[in-house]
């Protein structure tokens, strides 16, 4: 099991062995709540051409909470991931730029 201090074990299991999935999860933390479409849009930033399989699999995980038309990462998980996202300022900015673009397009 990889060492991720302060991270729930099920999150560590989900990202285990895949830097791409770990980066995908980190970039999702930029958003307070998500839809599948928005998740896929911001996961493109870390190189996913088709993140739909990972997004679908996320809905199996206990650290993802379904709302009524959206979903969110569990707050303790998101807090950890935001810390990781801040270690990558360019990605942090790019993710928020995309979220802003989504807001403006609505």
């Amino acid at each position: 099991m990889p060492e991720h201090h302060g991270l729930r074990n099920d999150v560590a299991i989900f990202i285990q062995g895949s830097d791409a999935i770990e980066s995908g999860l980190i970039v999702l933390a930029a958003a307070e709540s998500l839809t599948d479409e928005i998740a896929a849009y911001i996961m493109e930033l870390v190189g996913f051409e088709d993140p739909s399989s990972v997004v679908e699999a996320l809905h199996f995980c206990d650290f993802v909470f379904e709302r009524n038309s959206e979903w969110n990462l569990a707050p303790d998980v998101r807090e950890y991931l935001i810390g990781r996202l801040r270690e990558r300022p360019e990605l942090y900015r790019a993710a928020h730029d995309r979220l802003l673009a989504v807001c403006r397009s609505r």
Binding site: I13, A20, I21, S52, V54, L58, H59, F63, E66, A74
Partner: protein
């Protein structure tokens, strides 16, 4: 949006206890969930089961979560219930109705500047309007329950502040929801029973049923989870024979019996098998 399908591993004893309610009986169910319980997985499986299986009356569910800013306060909770159930938003007549400058005519230039309009409601008006909306919600929900069933799934109510509890109890519970329990409304309150809130004005109500969410698969639940995992592996075409699928299921449960870990292992496998996905 339609409910996102997700696999259900076990939860059989919990769903068995809830069967009278699934069949249409209203009630209040307390689900005691410790800090490491698989709350999201249970809630997701519950809502999927209600909304996709065949029941005497079709189900609609609404999740009210302490982490969801849309459902923190009574007006937000009411809006979410109306939106999720497709109830007509009857917000009553606006408390202010005025118009400025209608039907003006001129053949010259008109300059209007520095027009400032400030409308403020006092607390009484706001409170009266909210109460009117609670009554309208009760009436529309009562009508809705004649043809469908509704489950309000409350998650994390132990994190509510004293003000949230009081407002929910005073307005929504006493004003609309409590009386609808006898009309078929199901309230499922999932919370950490060791961190309960101070009761206020009838909230939380005495439950008709109490469930405990386990953190681990043990005994019969482990057998049921094993069978569910093997069935999924077969249905997704991961394995050609049932014995191969059982080896897969056994390997997952041998790695961890923690329910949240098992869902994560299944998700990890699914995410990597589905397609290019992780092609970064």
């Amino acid at each position: 949006m339609s409910r996102v399908w997700a696999p259900c591993l076990d939860w059989k004893s919990q769903f068995s206890a809830l069967m009278p309610y699934f069949q249409g009986k209203g009630g209040v169910v307390h689900v005691h969930a410790g800090p490491n319980a698989a709350v999201s997985s249970f809630s997701r499986a519950l809502r999927n089961r209600l909304e996709t299986d065949e029941w005497p009356l079709p189900w609609s569910t609404v999740q009210i979560h302490s982490d969801n800013s849309n459902t923190h306060y009574v007006p937000g909770i009411m809006w979410q219930i109306q939106k999720s159930l497709g109830l007509i938003a009857e917000t009553g007549s606006p408390p202010v109705n005025f118009s400025i400058g209608n039907d003006n005519r001129t053949k010259g230039d008109v300059l209007i500047s520095n027009v400032e309009i400030d409308v403020s409601y006092d607390r009484y008006v706001r409170s009266a309007q909210l109460w009117e909306n609670v009554v309208r919600l009760r009436v529309s929900l009562e009508s809705f329950l004649k043809r469908r069933r509704v489950a309000l799934v409350l998650v994390g109510t132990h994190e509510w502040t004293a003000d949230q509890v009081k407002n929910f109890a005073d307005m929504l519970w006493n004003g609309a929801l409590e009386i609808l329990i006898n009309r078929g409304l199901l309230v499922i309150d999932i919370f950490d029973h060791e961190r309960t809130v101070e009761p206020s004005n009838g909230w939380p109500p005495d439950p008709h049923c109490i469930l405990n969410l386990p953190e681990y698969y043990e005994g019969q639940s482990r057998v049921d989870a094993f069978n569910d995992l093997a069935s999924l592996a077969m249905s997704w075409g991961w394995h050609q024979t049932s014995s191969e699928a059982e080896i897969f299921a056994g390997a997952i449960l041998d790695a961890s019996s923690d329910i949240r870990d098992v869902y994560a292992m299944l998700a990890r496998t699914r995410g990597r098998r589905l397609g290019p996905g992780a092609n970064a």
